[in-house]
């Protein structure tokens, strides 16, 4: 049984004791145990290391540790060997014996496992030299890689729970409030609402019972920053929550975790137990007289249940549906009691503010948005993953310096920020600093941190349709503007992408948008028009091409494209002919292949399989398919390839 911590002194001694047990020069293999790397088999890699170190009888002392997510999930399994900080990517079980014998024993770097710049071919050995990491400032997320989420001692060793000790033993709740107010932490869950203002409302609402809640519902498709924090460093969120509860005067907290995040749930429950053992949760925490307990609630599994009033209904055991909240949840939330809800990342920022002070915190970021923000960078960029940067970093820096630019040297078209109800930002705004206010000015938003990069092969009408589809499935369906508005959005966009668009459709979409935005009950509906409005605003020509010319400029929309084999490039190699799943291609050895447009289902197999040196299959849109050539025999030039 761990010793209960009763004072700042106890805390400091505990930390010293833990740190003194750690040899900073000891070789330590840290293996990312986040959900992304687990999918690549990090559990097995971990096991292989433990066994291999024993098997090879390595005589230096080697530790192996599973840590939280490092953010570069696409290159999983990610391992970092300390103290040299050698970073290996895409590690598989087969690589383990070599890593042990070469790197652990002989300190040799295995080149093939290090990062290679896709453009320059330059290698980076140290984690901090990899461009993806080099341009980040991971003050919140970076701790993940040093700690085993199941070990509270790991967290304490890097200064964990010192902020809680400071708040409870040295500060009054008012002083904590003041510090958070000075730091101007704004909500990371999407709205950017000042945390201190919300806390103050709950704090000054007259009631004996108050609640504080962590929102880990994270329903944006493709976003996983909250999951990675909650899984990788649950103590930082709990510490922030407890400090907040102390300032607000709440004695009960909830962590609302979505159903799909079993590891986050497991690690949070484990963290709560460990924190209770040390007395960081429970009665009379650190002898301050402050009591606080936390419970984990499993989410209902709907996107809309992340909305504050819906989430609170769900905690009460009712349907997770938004309700009109002209009386704010911070005044009347769970069971009618004042309830303060913040996002995972918001809570994780709180200990930083308390331990390092508001002055330090406000030195990072922009005028109106302080600190850093974690983004989930996905789509057509070379490096995808979780990225933490100071507020105010430009889109260009994120996409090019960290993301390594557009995949396969293609041309950038747009970046979609802010989750499904965010907006699409075109190239002309790439130098916009990313913070709560700047992106809103161009019709998008920073939101909770989704960032999807799109290139010239993305059709913007199709993109709008995708998000509208998502939202019409995920809206709760209670209020008319959102439910019926999205129904018609969906119909209109479907007909545009299938070439049935009407001349009046753009105007109709805009007209509906005004009303959906103004009159919907909750923020899902109120922001649902963003993807439609921004794509119309910046890519109107694409809408018009679909409607007026039945042409999809990006050649994406199936009903508007045809696959065509260029006769002078076709070498009659039979590959496409044999692989077409519907037998739509005619021809023979020596006979130019021709696609029967009536049979073609536009699956794209022929385009994918046509050897790049021939490159004979193309997509056409908005133009008729030329008739088959009269002469079907392949002319063989001298010395040409077969």
């Amino acid at each position: 049984m761990a010793k209960r911590i009763g004072s700042l002194d106890d805390m400091e001694q505990l930390r010293k004791r833990i740190v003194s047990g750690i040899d900073p020069n000891k070789t330590m293999v840290t293996i990312c145990g986040g959900t992304g790397c687990q999918a690549y088999g990090s559990d097995k890699v971990f096991q292989a290391f433990t066994e291999e170190v024993k098997r090879q009888g390595v005589d230096v002392e080697v530790g192996v540790k599973a840590t939280g997510c490092h953010g570069f999930c696409e290159r999983g399994v990610v391992i970092v060997i300390l103290p040299e900080e050698i970073c290996y990517l895409r590690v598989r079980v087969e690589d383990v014996p070599e890593i042990v014998s070469e790197t652990l024993v002989q300190h040799k770097v295995i080149e093939r496992l290090t990062y290679e710049d896709p453009q320059t071919g330059e290698k980076s050995v140290k984690e901090s030299d990899i461009p993806f990491y080099k341009h980040q400032s991971r003050i919140v997320f970076g701790k993940n890689r040093f700690i085993d989420p199941k070990s509270i001692d790991d967290y304490i060793a890097i200064g964990g729970y010192e902020a809680l000790a400071k708040a409870l033993c040295q500060m009054t709740p008012e002083q904590v409030m003041d510090e958070v107010k000075k730091a101007n932490i704004r909500g990371r869950g999407g709205g950017g609402f000042p945390a201190a203002v919300k806390w103050q409302t709950t704090r000054s609402s007259p009631s004996d019972v108050k609640y504080v809640i962590v929102n880990c519902d994270e329903g944006d498709p493709g976003a996983y920053m909250d999951r990675s924090l909650m899984e990788g460093n649950p103590h930082s969120v709990l510490e922030g929550l407890t400090i907040g509860a102390y300032a607000i005067g709440a004695h009960k907290g909830f962590v609302y975790v979505r159903q799909e995040y079993p590891l986050a749930t497991e690690n949070t429950i484990c963290a709560i137990e460990k924190a209770e053992e040390y007395g960081f949760l429970g009665k009379n925490i650190m002898n301050s007289g402050f009591d606080f307990t936390v419970e984990v609630e499993r989410g209902a599994g709907a996107f809309v249940s992340g909305e504050s009033s819906a989430l609170m209904s769900a905690i009460e055991g009712r349907v997770g549906e938004p309700r009109p909240k002209y009386i704010r949840t911070s005044v009347s939330g769970i069971w009618g009691k004042p309830s303060n809800l913040n996002n995972v990342e918001t809570w994780a920022n709180v200990p930083l503010v308390i331990s390092k002070g508001a002055d330090w915190y406000t030195s990072i970021g922009t005028e109106g948005s302080k600190g850093t923000k974690i983004f989930s960078l996905v789509g057509k960029v070379n490096n995808t993953g979780l990225v933490e940067v100071p507020m105010g970093t430009t889109l260009r820096e994120i996409i090019y310096d960290i993301g390594g630019g557009i995949l396969n040297g293609k041309k950038f078209k747009a970046v979609q920020t802010g989750g499904p109800s965010g907006g699409c930002i075109p190239e002309q705004f790439l130098d916009k600093p990313v913070d709560f206010d700047e992106l809103s000015k161009v019709g998008a938003m920073m939101g909770s941190g989704g960032m999807i990069v799109m290139d010239e092969d993305n059709c913007m009408v199709d993109v709008a349709r995708y998000f509208v589809n998502f939202l019409s499935d995920e809206s709760c369906g209670k209020c008319v503007p959102c439910r019926e508005g999205l129904r018609h959005y969906h119909k209109i966009l479907e007909r545009i992408v299938s070439g049935e668009g009407r001349e009046s459709d753009i105007e109709l979409l805009q007209d509906l948008s005004d009303v959906i935005k103004d009159a919907s009950l909750c923020a899902l509906g109120q922001t649902a028009p963003n993807p439609v409005l921004t794509t119309i605003q910046y890519f109107r020509d694409e809408y018009e091409a679909h409607i007026k010319e039945r042409r999809c400029p990006a050649k994406v929309c199936k009903d508007l494209i045809s696959f065509y084999i260029e006769p002078d490039k076709c070498k009659a190699c039979m590959i496409c002919l044999r692989n077409c799943p519907v037998g739509a291609i005619s021809g023979d050895k020596g006979l130019i292949h021709v696609i029967d447009q009536g049979k073609c289902t536009k699956c794209g197999t022929c385009l994918d399989l046509c050897p790049t040196r021939f490159n004979a299959v193309t997509k056409l849109s908005g133009e008729p398919v030329p008739p088959p050539p009269l002469k079907r025999e392949v002319t063989r030039e001298k010395g040409s390839e077969q």
Binding site: L471, G477, K478, E484, L486, D518
Partner: protein, 215 residues
């Protein structure tokens, strides 16, 4: 009870704290169109037809008057251009589902008849029947299932076959008037098969019968 003074359409209005804008307006004879509101039931705030524009200082925004509580000094406009546009489009959306709904209002707000494709299922999910059955009768025969554009009203046959034949009070509450035919088709069936699984309020058959009747 504390009194607040506010302005609705330029008129000074005194109202009791805790009232909604809709109630305060009604007391002074200002009519705000509603659909999902019924004074026997808790406000639901779903149709948004009762939207009004409120001003606090410089900022103006749209709220549903059937749920927004009165406030000292609030300035309310019930027929501003923004509000009228909202009503017009909401009626247009509703009437694409339920042709003929709120005829008078549709004329008043000059609702476009042709822009939106019709998809007449008649139910507009105002929840009046569901809420009446639960809140007034305590019977809970009806409920909602599904999310988003898939949301539907359903019967629970095992309760319906016992309760509905003697009640039928929701017949007059449905703004589309289609409930009686739903019952005529379904409830006798439930007697034979009183399952616990929810059954759609309106299937193809009673929809056809209903349309035949009104045509």
């Amino acid at each position: 009870m504390k009194q607040v003074t506010m302005s609705i359409d330029g008129k000074e209005v005194k109202a009791k704290e805790g009232m909604t804008i809709l109630q305060a307006a009604m007391e002074v004879g200002i009519k705000i169109p509603t659909l999902c509101y019924d004074d026997r039931l808790a406000s639901y705030g779903a149709c948004r037809l009762c939207s009004v524009e409120i001003k606090k200082g410089e900022r103006s925004r749209i709220v549903a008057s059937c749920v927004y509580p009165v406030e000292e000094g609030l300035v309310v406009e019930t027929e501003s251009p923004r509000v009228q546009k909202i009503r017009k489009v909401i009626l247009e959306l509703l009437r694409a589902r339920s042709p003929g709904l709120k005829e008078e209002l549709a004329e008043r707000y000059e609702v476009d008849k042709t822009r939106l494709d019709r998809d007449a299922t008649f139910c507009i999910l105002c929840g009046l029947c569901v809420r009446y059955c639960a809140e007034v009768k305590g019977a809970n025969v009806l409920g909602f299932v599904g999310r988003g554009t898939e949301r539907q009203v359903v019967f629970f046959p095992d309760i319906a076959f016992k309760t509905c034949p003697t009640c039928k009070e929701c017949f007059n509450i449905c703004p589309t008037g289609v409930i009686p035919s739903d019952f005529a088709v379904n409830v006798p069936r439930f007697e034979k098969q009183p399952t616990v699984f929810p059954v759609r309020l309106r299937d193809e058959q009673n929809l056809r019968e209903f349309i035949k009747k009104i045509e």
